[in-house]
Symmetry: C2
Subunit: 244 residues, 2 copies
C-alpha cells in the first residue's frame, strides 16, 4: 500500500510539517510506503499558462484544457507535471496537508489541481465522479486553521468547515476518489496570534498530533463522505427529483 | 465612483477578457472609472513565502501573518503587494472575473488573497466581517464555467454554484464588503469541448455579455448576500441559538 502526502506550507518547521512527519511515521507503522511531495520545497509553479507547453496544438490561442489533452496524447506534459502525475498514479491513499488560508488551500496547492489533474488524461466527460480515474482509491484532507474549533460549526464565525472544504472535496470526488472525513486541526496560531499560554499551546499541539495519528489508524473505520453520482442526475446534469 | 476588476485568465482573447471589456464599457457608461488589474499580464506571483520579505521580524521561522503585519507596520510590503493594496483601497466596487477551475478560482487569484490581503493591515481580530476594513463597499464575482447552467443547482453534476462560491464569498464578507449576487456565465467551453454548433455557441456568448451588462446596470437593485455577523456569535465564535 502506498500513500502520497501533498504538503503545502512555506515553513519547514511549521506545525503542518510536524503533522506530515506524524502521518509518515504512522502510515509506515501501518504498513504503507509514504511519499511526501513538498510543493514549496520543490518550488512548484502553480500558475497554469501557455509557456508550460512548448509543443502546442494551437500556438495562437491558449486554451488550458485543449493543451492539457494534447500534451497528454503526445506524451509531452511539462516535466514537473508528469512527475506529479506519476506519483499520484502510484498512490492508493492521497493526503492533502495544508493550512487554511482565506477559507481555502494555499495558491500553491490550488495550482497543483489546475496544472497536474490533466483534462483528457486523469478525467474525461465520462470518466468522472463515481466513474473517475481514481475509483477505488481514497483521499483525505488534513487542514490546520487558527480559528478555534467552536467557531467552525454551521453559522460559526470562522465559517462552517464542511462548507469551506466542500469545493475541494468535490474535486476529489470528481476524480473518483472515496473521500474520507477530514482531519481538522483548529486553534493553530502563529506566535503573537495565540490565546493560550505557551505550555497550554504546546499541549494543544501534542494532542492534535495524537488525534491525527488516531484518525489515520482508524482509516478503514471511516465512512466516506456522500456525494451525488451518475445515477442521481438526468442527462443535463440536474439532480433527479427522487435521488437519495 | 471607482471600480477595480481583478482579471485572472491566461488568454487575452478568451471569453473572460470579453466579459472584462464589457464590464469596463458598461461601468464607464454608468459613471464609474474602471481599473483592470490583469494578474496574468503582470506576472503576479501567487505564492506567499519568506523570500517576499527581505526585512523580516523573524529571520529564522517564516510565519506569513507575522511578517505581513510587520511589513505593514514598517511600510515595507513587497512592491507588487503595495501596488495591489493601493488599487484596492481606491475601489468602491470590486469585481473578481475568473474561470471556475477545479471548483474554485485559478491559483493566481487565490494567491492574490494569500499575499495582498494583509494581516494587521486590511483586517485584524476585531476589524472583520460587518466591522471589516472595506465596510460600505461592494464586491461581486463574475465567473465562467464549462458546465451547463442546468448542472449547477443543488445536487447537480457540476456542483451547486452557490456552495462552490461560498468560501470566496465568505472571504469578501470577512473583509467587510457587501457581497452582491454573482454573475455566472455557464456553458462556456473551449473549442473541442462544446455541445452547441458554432453559430449557437456564438449567440450564447453574445447573450451572456448582454446579461452581464444588465447585471451591472442593476447593481443598486441587487440585495447583498446574507452572512452571519458579530451579533450572531458568542465570544467563542459559535452561532447563537436564536440568531436569525
Amino acid at each position: 500500500m502506498s500513500a502520497l502526502i501533498l504538503h503545502s506550507h512555506p515553513e519547514p518547521t511549521a506545525f503542518n510539517a510536524q503533522l506530515t512527519q506524524q502521518a509518515t511515521q504512522t502510515l509506515t507503522q501501518m504498513g504503507y510506503s509514504a511519499d511526501v511531495a513538498d510543493l514549496y520545497q520543490e518550488g512548484f509553479d502553480p500558475v497554469e499558462r501557455g509557456e508550460h507547453y512548448p509543443d502546442r496544438t494551437d500556438a495562437e490561442v491558449f486554451s488550458p484544457l485543449t493543451e492539457q489533452r494534447h500534451a497528454w496524447q503526445q506524451r509531452s506534459l511539462p516535466t514537473d507535471v508528469q512527475r506529479h502525475v506519476s506519483r499520484l498514479e502510484q498512490a492508493e491513499l492521497l493526503i492533502l496537508q495544508f493550512p487554511l488560508w482565506w477559507h481555502g488551500p494555499p495558491a500553491i496547492l490550488k495550482g497543483w489541481f489546475d496544472r497536474v489533474l490533466i483534462s483528457g488524461g486523469l478525467y474525461t466527460s465520462r470518466m468522472r465522479y463515481d466513474n473517475g480515474y481514481f475509483k477505488g482509491r481514497r483521499a483525505l484532507i488534513s487542514v490546520t486553521t487558527g480559528a478555534p474549533a467552536e467557531a467552525l460549526g454551521p453559522g460559526g464565525r470562522g465559517g462552517d468547515i464542511d462548507a469551506l472544504l466542500w469545493p475541494l472535496h468535490y474535486s476529489l470526488h470528481y476524480l473518483g476518489y472515496s473521500v474520507l472525513p477530514p482531519f481538522v486541526a483548529a486553534g493553530v496560531q502563529g506566535q503573537g496570534y495565540r490565546y493560550r499560554d505557551e505550555a497550554a499551546f504546546a499541549q494543544h499541539l501534542t494532542g492534535l498530533k495524537q488525534r491525527w495519528s488516531e484518525h489515520l489508524r482508524r482509516l478503514d473505520a471511516h465512512s466516506p463522505l456522500v456525494f451525488p453520482g451518475w445515477q442521481d442526475w438526468d442527462s443535463a446534469g440536474r439532480a433527479l427529483p427522487l435521488a437519495r
